[in-house]
Amino acid sequence: MTILYFAWLKDRMGKSEEQIALPEGVATLGDLITHLQAGNPQFEAIFSGDAKVLAAVNQDMATPETPVSNADEVAFFPPMTGG
């Protein structure tokens, strides 16, 4: 699975991209977030803080219920500031 980080998340994580092997039992975006929080202090700090974090799975906006699989691309980012 490819995980992408954008904007200040990329700065705080120290990377824009990483590859992970999705463990057994991680079936949704919510499961993935819990798994990443447990394994990474920077990720945990971001997700337990006040700032709003959004996610996309395969370039579509996602919710904690969105299913994920090992072949997917998941991106984490703050609310968008385009235009």
Partner: protein
């Protein structure tokens, strides 16, 4: 028509090209967004726009599709830059063409409101204050929510 690019565009040339693609339309409305030299933190020296290649183009296509679903539009163009820009640089251009002006105006406003909240770009401002990621504004969320 969607264009996501790093290069500058010439708004006058884009208006001319757009108009020539919609010779039958009674109304053409255009919007140009430029980098401001002043922000809440002080003078802005530069603004960097990060984007999500792939998702950005798809999101803009969906936004155009939604506008075409809601209003009778003959032509739509959205151009949005990414990369490092300086004050006065063009960032975004939105043009709408329709038989009559109400649809052209409303669709254009809708497109810009949605671009500000649903297009995967993130702005970072650089000035005397250092560098700061711009926070999403509730005003923009409220403007976009008007169209829900």
């Amino acid at each position: 028509m969607i264009r996501v690019c790093e290069d500058a565009f010439d708004a006058a040339a884009e208006i001319s090209a757009f108009t020539s693609r919609a010779p039958q339309s009674g109304a053409i409305v255009t919007f140009l967004g430029q980098v401001r030299g002043q922000g809440p933190e002080g003078d802005i020296k530069a603004m960097t726009l990060e984007h999500y290649p792939g998702m950005t183009e798809r999101a803009l296509e969906k936004i155009e599709d939604e506008a075409r679903r809601r209003w009778p539009l003959d032509e739509v163009t959205i151009i949005h830059r990414h990369g490092k820009l300086t004050p006065g640089d063009p960032i975004v251009f939105v043009a709408t063409a329709s038989p009559h002006r109400l649809a052209a105006y409303e669709a254009n406003e809708f497109l810009v409101d949605w671009l500000k909240t649903k297009a995967p770009f993130w702005k970072k401002e650089e000035g005397g204050f250092g560098e700061k990621w711009v926070a999403a504004k509730s005003d923009d969320d409220e403007a976009a929510a008007r169209w829900d």
